[in-house]
Amino acid sequence: MIDWLLAPFRYSFMQTGLIAATLVGITCAVLGTYVVLRRMAFIGDALAHTVLPGLVVAYLGGWSLFGGAIIAGLLTALGIGWVSRRGTVREDTAIGVLFTAMFALGILLMSKVRSFRDLSHILFGNILGVRPEDLIQISLISAGVLGTLWLLHKELELTSYDPTYAEVIGLKADRMRMLLLILLALTVVTCIQVVGVILTSALLVTPAAAAALLTTRLPRMMFIAAMIAVGSALVGLYASYYADVASGAAIVLTCTTCFGIAWGFNALRTRQSRV
């Protein structure tokens, strides 16, 4: 059994994949807790899709894919923040328009690439394809995002449940929201390497949503979400190694299973408290 568990990690690409999945899982889960509690799941999904043209342009130009995705993600985050601040168009409508347009642009650009398969890992992710240099970028972004969340925890928490009071004490709630969008854009870019553009929002939303069903304490919620994400990433890696299935899809489906268990547990607990 131990041999079965350790065998995949004799290969350096599996070790790199494991470290990347752990870092991305923890970052997504902790940030995802705010995404779920602030009802920003749609924005998370939109951001994941809108980095596609940035990735394709960078690929076509022979530049860093990471850089292209970060620029596209940050531009979208700032655009969404700006539109919602002006309030002339409803935020969800603006996101819907922007997100589909950017994704369509990405697909259009992809169709110009000679081989569509070259970019399929962007759409579906490839945890086993993470290179050591990618790992450095993922580590830096994860450390930056988690460090910011830790340093600004009390401000992010307060603006999440009572933005009016925050404004009264001089803490600008819309700036905190903008910061959260920027952190979200950075996290999404790291996440794309693990589960791809299409499944990124699942890693942001599902572990946090499952944790929200199990506890009413924010730090505990972040911890449980991180455990679910890391556990799912591990299962995904094993599934990919032993069953030769797509790692991103296996990770997401494991997260969904955890959500199902949490939902069932919550329903049982609610029924017992009523009796």
Binding site: L151, E155, V168, I169, G170, R217
Partner: protein, 246 residues
């Protein structure tokens, strides 16, 4: 310990002999509205008074409190708090919003929510210390919430939620408290506790401006009443002490 204030402005001393609040020709209009929510309101509230703002729904009570709290920008007129403009010193003004403005399902305990009243003193990057925690426990005790400190805020009744919001305003140790409907949907016990707190505030030289629908016992609980109707000041009633009203 260095404090990096959220607004970039730290503690600013009050102007000598200035009233707690002075409004002059205050006019506030919401974006897209056809008429102002407040029309040329002028009043002056000396330090240490409990003032009730009364009026029907939409009369401008909440708008007045929000303008003083810096949440709305006036189209005309001026607001002076202890002689300083709005936002000059966030430490000095505490605001109790209506309950509907808060996400009560958020996973935060009563103690943690009340602790947020200390944040204006801490600013960026500083965490609450033991004396902040002590202050919170002291106020929770005072408001009869000590046993509920570890409950998630959604698990409180309406009256308990109002008391928790009042506790947060109290731990801020502000000089001017703006309370928007603190008596709405509260039981008799909560009302008695809130009234006792208001009385103690007056004795401590703090000023409270309270928007309320509850017209009974106004004489017992307040020093003065301002009536608002369609955004204009229509009634000025002096109950216990002399007030200047422009």
């Amino acid at each position: 310990m260095i404090t990096i204030a959220y607004s970039g402005r730290g503690f600013t001393p009050a102007q000598a002999h200035a009233p707690a609040l002075a409004l002059e020709g205050l006019t506030v209009m919401y974006p897209g509205a056809s008429r102002p929510a407040l029309r040329e309101v002028s009043l002056s509230v000396p330090t240490g008074r409990r003032v009730a703002l009364v009026g029907a729904n939409g009369s401008g009570k909440s708008t007045l409190l929000k303008a003083v709290a810096g949440l709305l920008y006036p189209q005309a007129g001026s607001i002076r708090i202890y002689g300083r403009p709005v936002g000059a010193c966030h430490h000095r003004v505490a605001y109790l919003p209506q309950r509907g403005e808060i996400d009560w399902d958020f996973p935060v305990t009563v103690e943690r929510m009340v602790l947020a009243g200390r944040y204006v003193h801490l600013g960026w990057l500083r965490s609450p210390n033991q004396s902040d925690q002590q202050r919170v426990l002291q106020v929770l005790e005072q408001l009869g919430l000590a046993d509920l400190a570890q409950r998630q805020i959604s698990q409180l009744s309406g009256g308990q939620q109002q008391r928790a919001l009042l506790a947060r305003a109290l731990v801020q140790d502000a000089d001017l408290l703006l309370l928007d409907e603190p008596l709405s949907a509260v039981d008799a016990a909560s009302r008695a506790i809130i009234a006792a707190v208001l009385e103690r505030l007056g004795q401590q030289g703090k000023t409270a401006l309270v928007a309320t629908h509850h017209l009974d016992r106004l004489e017992e609980e307040f020093d003065h009443i301002f009536g608002l109707e369609q955004g204009a000041l229509t009634q000025v009633q002096n109950l216990h002490a002399s007030l200047e009203v422009a």
